[in-house]
Subunit: 368 residues, 4 copies
Amino acid sequence: MPVAKVHRISAAAPDDVSGIEAAIASGAIAPAGIRAIFGKTEGNGCVNDFSRGFAVQSLQLLLRRHLDDAAADAVCLVMSGGTEGGMAPHWLVFERAEGPEASAPGAAALAIGSAHTADLPADQLGRMGQVAQVAQAVGRAMADAGITRPEDVHFVQVKCPLLTLPRIAQARAGGAEVATTDTLKSMGLSRGASALGIAVALGEIGMDRITDAAVCADLDLWSGRASCSSGIELVGHEVVVLGMSAAWSGPLAIDHAVMGDAIDVAPVRAALARLGADADTLTTPADTPLVALLAKAEASRSGRIRGHRHTMLDDSDISSTRHARAFVAGALAGLVGRTEIYVSGGAEHQGPDGGGPVALVVRRAEPT
Amino acid sequence: MPVAKVHRISAAAPDDVSGIEAAIASGAIAPAGIRAIFGKTEGNGCVNDFSRGFAVQSLQLLLRRHLDDAAADAVCLVMSGGTEGGMAPHWLVFERAEGPEASAPGAAALAIGSAHTADLPADQLGRMGQVAQVAQAVGRAMADAGITRPEDVHFVQVKCPLLTLPRIAQARAGGAEVATTDTLKSMGLSRGASALGIAVALGEIGMDRITDAAVCADLDLWSGRASCSSGIELVGHEVVVLGMSAAWSGPLAIDHAVMGDAIDVAPVRAALARLGADADTLTTPADTPLVALLAKAEASRSGRIRGHRHTMLDDSDISSTRHARAFVAGALAGLVGRTEIYVSGGAEHQGPDGGGPVALVVRRAEPT
Amino acid sequence: MPVAKVHRISAAAPDDVSGIEAAIASGAIAPAGIRAIFGKTEGNGCVNDFSRGFAVQSLQLLLRRHLDDAAADAVCLVMSGGTEGGMAPHWLVFERAEGPEASAPGAAALAIGSAHTADLPADQLGRMGQVAQVAQAVGRAMADAGITRPEDVHFVQVKCPLLTLPRIAQARAGGAEVATTDTLKSMGLSRGASALGIAVALGEIGMDRITDAAVCADLDLWSGRASCSSGIELVGHEVVVLGMSAAWSGPLAIDHAVMGDAIDVAPVRAALARLGADADTLTTPADTPLVALLAKAEASRSGRIRGHRHTMLDDSDISSTRHARAFVAGALAGLVGRTEIYVSGGAEHQGPDGGGPVALVVRRAEPT
Amino acid sequence: MPVAKVHRISAAAPDDVSGIEAAIASGAIAPAGIRAIFGKTEGNGCVNDFSRGFAVQSLQLLLRRHLDDAAADAVCLVMSGGTEGGMAPHWLVFERAEGPEASAPGAAALAIGSAHTADLPADQLGRMGQVAQVAQAVGRAMADAGITRPEDVHFVQVKCPLLTLPRIAQARAGGAEVATTDTLKSMGLSRGASALGIAVALGEIGMDRITDAAVCADLDLWSGRASCSSGIELVGHEVVVLGMSAAWSGPLAIDHAVMGDAIDVAPVRAALARLGADADTLTTPADTPLVALLAKAEASRSGRIRGHRHTMLDDSDISSTRHARAFVAGALAGLVGRTEIYVSGGAEHQGPDGGGPVALVVRRAEPT
């Protein structure tokens, strides 16, 4: 029976894969079982964040030292730039191993699935074409994970492309018109359309409610389980689904919460409690049951948090995505007592305006 | 018997004093009683943060509409730049009013005192001369507040100067040598020396343990109640002391906590409990017992938080003080459910490395 | 006969008006003759640049020390934020004095005129309403300057408003829809529509060629004499026209050039030659015939300069307007040998894409 | 007889080595002859600029596709981060080829030499140990180039290391004390000590005039031919010497100029004239005789340029190195009519305070 393993490994730099290499050398990780690697890298998380591409190139070199090209290419590499505030750069290696049957019939455990898409035409970025392409890929990733019910999915990570000036020029040369010529804005549109695709796949929103114009505009449309990062280093999508499945066994479990705004930690506290982990006891780095925390953060477009003004959208020196990551990471790190958490910026259609989904992977004391 | 009032008023811009003006117009604030105004303004909080000077100019114009020049000049104006993350720009107006006797003999309430110093010679900035000057001023401010025991002081705010290139040139022209020619670094030295002065005045550190070389170097020396902000708009110091005194009455009380690192919110939770306020019930903006939260934040020089690396000191695009304010503000706002909090950067000798003091002013249900 | 005077005065900070005060004290400036003050202030030149508002408030206080309220309010105050690279913060005080008749009949000299507009409705910002409002005001300013032929106008400065989140919310509350909800983008739209208004007034473009959709989109539409700065500190427009008029006398003359791209200094060199000033001899700060240089700079949308890629539009850490100001200021300061020049960012419809207008005021050896 | 070739190749991203690959494929570059590759990459040029490491990794992968490991490792890779303003990211590939004898006996042509050093102990960074290590390596690089007279050297590029928090911790663990714990400051110290090493090797300064304390402090000590870049990706030094030698033939020639301040382009114009290239005719990208321009830029510590204040050192949002690169690049690009130039920041001891060396490689119409 498959068992999902999640390895959280510190990174000293975007190209520091030595911790993963050591885990492989020690046998803790079997390279052939690696399904995905998420990286929280220390760039600016915006258009010219080369820490992501540098990390991807370094990971690909690592994988090729242990796998053939086809197997290496099949691993989803999802880099999220930006460790503002006190966040710690780290890798999350998702592995599918083989283990014993579940201890109880029908007991569920963490399950992992993934899928890639074809290249996205530049003129479909931020539009219905992207929504549909992502929705379809989420379905394939669920099937890969052996999850049939949408409610058993607690986290969907999509890595999506962005527009650069050369890509825009190429599209125009071919007679196509892109959704925006602002490269920073294209990152938001791509994340937004991807999140809507996830929401469609999980049954949170009907495809009929979505239009090109709604992308990044109709903030009432959102998924509570979507996490999307855009990066310059790919032109298609990589999709990873995490959920609970009775077809998998092992000690890990996952649940999720939706923060209603940037400081709304109560739902996260409640989700931890559902998983048997008490936030007030998570303060010891070693031996904590909390394996991974993955969250989305963004500045509310209303310009307000619980009635008080914020200045994130008016700051021309620091992107609002950087402000929001630092701030929400503070709120979550203060709750769980650890800074090696994965808070990703740009939460368009990922949770309500100014809030965002949070997924929690814990190690249960009594594996099922 | 004097009664301390603390008015927290939102600001729409650095020069937006309309909320204070309205409070004066309505009679909520009596201009003659204003002892100090703290401002959390929305600049970068570093050398070229003109939001502070703009706010000071605007407040001085406001005060002169209601007070004569001497009375207006006597009000301590302490601006702390930087509302990174979701922090809300706001004013804290500290007023001394007259009220009834305390309900119980010997019962204490919030007390306010203040003092100014002479201009600091540029070559004494960040050195023993500044330490001694501030220590003496804190004593005067305590006397002004009617506080005799150092343990009754819970918060000392010092606004201190910084070095600019013209000031450095002027000092050199006079044959003096300054502690640093790096203007950003001078802000830290000035805050550090001021904090050591507070620690001396409160008996936390003996003056004999402090040397020029220890300023911003010996991180074992710190005050748990100091808050220092440096600004380009003054060349002396303004000192405000907040504490508990039986010579004052009214519903307000103050206590403090010391965060051991950037995510150490447990002591703040405990201090709130001591004041009769439960962090978990502070989520409603209106009618909250929490009147004001004042904290210091900084990036730990160790480069780590609970063993995990942070990147704040390696980021050449965003000052570490901006990162730290955003992150710690997130941790504290997540705890108290409000973003109109006063988190100030640059915590040299203000709490342990990477941590910092937090003062809490609450409105008690049953005034003493 | 009126004589135009232009006083270039260094500023040590956004609120440093001491140089102007000294010039008034010495009699060099007669306060009643001040028609406009331009300021190159040292903020970020973007949305949250409070150096502009701080400068305006400081200048208004200065003017009120010498003029009554109505006269002080009539002075156009145009602050352009951003002294990136080596630019020097400074004021340009434009004064109308009385002088002798021109030395030769029909000889022309520098002439100054100005006009204000009513408040611009937020929903007209970046649209035809703004174009028309500005065009009309330019006509009034020309009349004020005694200039009848558009070809005698060499520089039109318009200070225009921007959208802030509160202004957007207010417009929406009133049922109006704004052109953008991106506050930084609103600055560009406002500058662009204002520049088109100038082009219409100067006969460079027919009003029939302009539509709402063309603003900041159809880059073939531009004025070679427009300079527009947007700022948070006003909600209407201030217009200043500089040109040559036989109705004015004195030693000053003005001409202009249009840079075709960010490094196209040859037309500026040619304009200097037309004015009798040789670029190669302008290297001595004192006694230079060059009184003022006013230019616009921006990153070309093509992403290229003479075929080579630039990275200004892909940099998420520094606004492209800041990059462009620093770079173009370098090109121009290298040409004229001085850093106290006025290079303003955001050149939408102000010169061709990536280039911009440059106005030059020189003191002629032989006044007409 | 050896012939030096310099290939200037545009880069679309830090890892875009496709242009070099194409030049190899076409036969324009023979991989075995590559001695050094300089890269102007588009990061922030400061501590956390990962564009440099990403470029190095990409170039190493490229070289290994054509050379064995030892040969690939022998190529000096010198990345300078920061293309602020309108600078264009590009590679400069320096190749040693074989060609005919010089057309005239004793005629000189561009010559290239290089050398590596051992790892620099962290506690010697910014100190005499680094000065001596670099001076020795410059001598070896000159010998490699066949240049015997120091006056025939026109450009020495040194790539030097910086301190990171881990390196500092490691040094301290070994009982050593580093020159600074400020990582950004360590970049300057490393560049400064390297430049002094170059000056010693070229006979510009006697070793006896240099002390640990003089590094980055005594600005009267400088080299007019040094260019130093510090980067996180190496712990030793890479040295490349360019000069004129009668032992080499070919059409390329090199000369240098020293800018006295950030806008002092006259000496560059003169150097171009000495090389037979007229600045006013360099405006056509194709077919220009100017092959490469390499310069250093920095903000003057005096805070002034020709008497006027600059704000580069007071800006806490943008590093002064970024301001200076943008500004000086503007001045030089305005002169030579091209943005694909190599302006590197941090000019400690590289030219006088606020100025810097400029090297020019041109293709002569009549090869010697």
